[in-house]
Symmetry: C2
Subunit: 234 residues, 2 copies
């Protein structure tokens, strides 16, 4: 008998690159607005705008695009030109059409674990974009179920596990975000493996949990996951 | 024994008003761009832009907002001002913050049918916005399950029914859109009730199916639904 009934993965920055696309877009955005404001001001106003709009827009590229346009209007005091707005739209479209690029080791690890465990994918963001990325990734056949959620909170994980009749203690979540993938899962009694991504969005920074250490694991690379799962089974 | 194992409802323009918000926004959009183009040209360019972006953006207000901005750039030959772009953003934000308004009879019909049948809600659009509207509607407790999908095709309905172990013949779908709620359900062998909304988005216009008439029903108002369901049980 194994320790886990289900192993679940986050998608963006756990299975494939995502934050690097946002970072590259923001880099271009800074260049585009360099005539209107300093880099730090651009970053601060964009972040503030994103945070303010998050409850209405949710996560994902479309909301980011709308926030980039709104912040550009504020930063330029409405002096931004039509063709500059067009360039912001083009940035967003390029993000949406960029081919999914799997992180190193992901294809092998997912295929290997799928032989023994029902796998689940739990991701937040734009429905259409997430579905397109899942299709493109080639990983879809390995996942027993795919859940696209608006936010990852203890409540949303608890509801999801209840719907699938999964006991939290027998649930393992893998992800790059302490805030979204690790802390809420630990809070409801699940186990979690943190695999940090090279870049972390400012919004996702939180402190490591001081308690619940027994159910918390950290790996440098996802390639180390099968060995950890094997070890937790003993 | 009843004829149906599950009764499913579309949400936008079936349970609550939605298209009327898009129509009102488009009316304001025309006024905003009146200096740059004729109404018909505005409508044509906006519709063309929406259709071109649909595969990347999916359904919902955020994609509509990005398409409105893109079409405004085209219609004004990039001459649109920053404060006009701001007004388009404001239009979208107003759409997202408008309180849900249920259609007449919906609250009673849903409560009544939930006493006998497991109800399901199947809707497409922005994840965050749809969830907010479901919460606001007050109808959430009546639905056994809520499915937010990127598109409503025979394939997506078939996958959804298989996942819930529902036989198509014992599935009844209620909706305002022939294209999204009725035809694909008839195609996979389900039953469907068309309750037209006062306004139909151009994209959703299709012909009534000539065959499959036995599993197709049409009502003028959703208030007539419990009587129809009762009748189909005999």
């Amino acid at each position: 008998m194994t320790t886990f009934d289900v192993i679940a993965f986050d998608a963006d920055d756990t299975l494939w690159h995502s934050e690097s696309l946002y970072a590259a877009a923001q880099e271009e955005y800074r260049r585009l607005l360099a005539a209107y404001a300093e880099t730090e001001v651009i970053d601060r106003v964009l972040h503030k705008t994103e945070m303010r709009n998050l409850p209405a827009y949710g996560y994902g590229v479309k909301g980011f695009a709308l926030s980039m346009i709104e912040a550009a209007l504020e930063l330029s005091q409405h002096q931004i030109s039509g063709s500059e707005v067009q360039q912001v739209l083009d940035l967003a479209k390029r993000m949406l059409s960029t081919e999914v690029e799997l992180l190193e080791g992901v294809a092998e690890v997912v295929a290997q674990l799928a032989e023994t465990y029902p796998l689940m994918l739990i991701t937040k963001g734009d429905l259409a974009h997430q579905e397109a990325k899942i299709e493109q990734s080639g990983l879809k056949p390995y996942f027993r179920s795919i859940e696209i959620v608006t936010d990852k909170t203890p409540q949303s994980y608890a509801a999801l596990l209840a719907r699938h009749h999964i006991e939290p203690l027998r649930f393992l979540m893998i992800g790059n975000s302490l805030r979204s993938d690790i802390l809420p899962v630990l809070e409801i009694g699940g186990q979690a493996v943190h695999v940090p991504y090279a870049i972390t969005w400012a919004h996702e920074h939180v402190d490591v949990p001081p308690d619940q250490q027994g159910r918390y694991h950290e790996l440098e690379r996802i390639g180390q996951l099968p060995a950890l799962v094997e070890q937790l089974n003993h």
